[in-house]
Symmetry: C2
Subunit: 359 residues, 2 copies
Amino acid sequence: MNRVHNFSAGPAILPVEVLKKATEGLLEYKNKGRSIAEMSHRSPEYEAIDQQAKSRLTELLGLGDDFKIMFLQGGASSQFMMAPYNFLREDQTADYIDTGRWSNKAIKEAKLFGNVHRPYSSSDSGYDRVPENHELDLSDDPVYVHFTSNNTVAGTQFPSEPETDGVPLVCDASSDFLSRPIDASRYGIIYAGAQKNVGPAGVTIVIIRKDFLNRANTENVPTILQYQTHTEKIFNTPPAFNVYMVNLVLGWIQDKGGLAHFKQYNEEKAGLLYDEIDKDDFYRGAVEKDSRSIMNATFRLPSEELEQQFLEEAEEHDLYTLKGHRSVGGIRASMYNACPRESVETLVNFMDDFRAQNG
Amino acid sequence: MNRVHNFSAGPAILPVEVLKKATEGLLEYKNKGRSIAEMSHRSPEYEAIDQQAKSRLTELLGLGDDFKIMFLQGGASSQFMMAPYNFLREDQTADYIDTGRWSNKAIKEAKLFGNVHRPYSSSDSGYDRVPENHELDLSDDPVYVHFTSNNTVAGTQFPSEPETDGVPLVCDASSDFLSRPIDASRYGIIYAGAQKNVGPAGVTIVIIRKDFLNRANTENVPTILQYQTHTEKIFNTPPAFNVYMVNLVLGWIQDKGGLAHFKQYNEEKAGLLYDEIDKDDFYRGAVEKDSRSIMNATFRLPSEELEQQFLEEAEEHDLYTLKGHRSVGGIRASMYNACPRESVETLVNFMDDFRAQNG
Ligand SMILES: Cc1ncc(COP(=O)(O)O)c(C=O)c1O
Ligand SMILES: Cc1ncc(COP(=O)(O)O)c(C=O)c1O
Ligand SMILES: [Mg+2]
Ligand SMILES: [Mg+2]
Ligand SMILES: [Mg+2]
Ligand SMILES: [Mg+2]
């Protein structure tokens, strides 16, 4: 098999070791005469996977005993409504930092449940940056502060957690989950679709702090939309094969050296690409330097025609899915944990050549 | 690989041909240098899968042009709240036929949105039957009539659609979806988790009639919980690998001869087992004969001790996951489409021997 260089924003590249292992479990799990996809979610086999994945997440993120972990369905988009459904009542206010397309979608759903205050928005400048702490204008008594840690479309990322004076953070970490260490104590909820850094699409990881969970509103909330429905036991049939694959990816992350390793590795990869972008004016980074994402690098070429040509020629060098999100255009290279440095090097070499020919 | 006889109620046995094919797509899809799980859901490759799966369902179920098909997440349990969220308003009534554990869970969620009337319940007799049409006491003007076409726990099944005088049916078909032809024109919604007859857990198939959809309530319903959010385009990242596998299973169903073939095949398999149960008094069917399910056969032995012994000895003959649901006990053999006749024959032979030794 000749693997291409895969810069897809998600569903995204997975470690090839994990894919190989998963094909085994898909055909026959541990010599049990059946696939992991053919086993009950109440089987000891699946329960062991569920538990191991939770232990691994606890260790990787340093969650200690304070958090509950859930493997849900519906994507990060379902969390846009589930978080406020559980935590935001009609007379209350939640603060939503507005740094792009995904923040906006989260805000739209939150407004169905209570008041939304934006302590900051980079909308006016085309979402080209994330705020510094002194720019945050928090409301008086927000039930939580929501932020999008990495903005997949714009290509910006918070360098670290925004400062909220003790108010719990609710974080859409879809596109930088497990890419670097975090300060878990700052979070009420961390949620992420698996399909960027952690596995195939179809499972949503939700981590909730126990004392925050205690404040949840359960009255008139459909059972399956209550977080506490999922924290003590597996409520209904989970996406078992997807969780199995997530568990393999988590094991792979541990083997490679955990989040400290990936922070360094991801910064190195992004550094290679941003250095190339910054060499001269042919390539232009799409966002402010201090806000650049180490996961999704967005940049422009001198014209849309050149961008189109760039994308076509890139594929001839096995460099795939570099097209920017349809809402913003340009080029986007997503370099999640499983993206090898070699792919970024190949991209940078191609960029050099392309500029030499067209610059 | 030595495949065991797998009678799991779900996640359940899958066609081994499909498992083999899926391992290929999981490693590398169509010589594209990457897994189907590593491709964007906006890629032409995934869109072709989505479209093919929908065409196959349309053809298999004879849906014509009148229906929309969605591949959602959350399980059938999520439809328990989503159907009333969209269709049942505070001052309205929906009728829910109560034939067991799953009907009850659906009723619980519906009550959050409007009035629920039970036109029939077999609760008093331990859910040992489904109603005949003349036993249905429908309310005056229900917005829909909900029924559970196959009761996975009790082991009962509606022989055909309940008569509702033109009121659209909303059907939880989780455990007999695609096991036999249906009269599609009777349904407003058909929903089913994939993990019994159609694929791995993690995708929920929802089929909705267009004119019924037009009556949906959209005010104050979170975007992702509105059916119409999902009927025109793919709203957010779908469980792509799971849908890919569903599409393979649908192709397999077509190749085998479609729903007419499976109706006959499933009736034959169930016939073998029920004949064995009815031979004498050692085995006792758990439900009324006219209500028996061709998917999940439930039966008892003379004592719980013998049932325990039966389950243990069965495994020695590679007969797995025959234990009844924890809420009712006894034995349950689930014989979905992918369960080979040979597995049922092996089970029946074992039952003969077990009775000879212990009867
Ligand atoms: C930051 C962010 N949030 C939310 C989403 C939506 O996730 P899903 O498609 O799993 O609902 C995405 C998808 O790309 C994302 O990048
Ligand atoms: C008839 C029926 N409805 C609903 C469910 C719940 O499905 P899920 O676990 O996909 O939510 C099941 C699960 O076994 C079922 O058999
Ligand atoms: Mg964004
Ligand atoms: Mg430059
Ligand atoms: Mg039941
Ligand atoms: Mg008998």
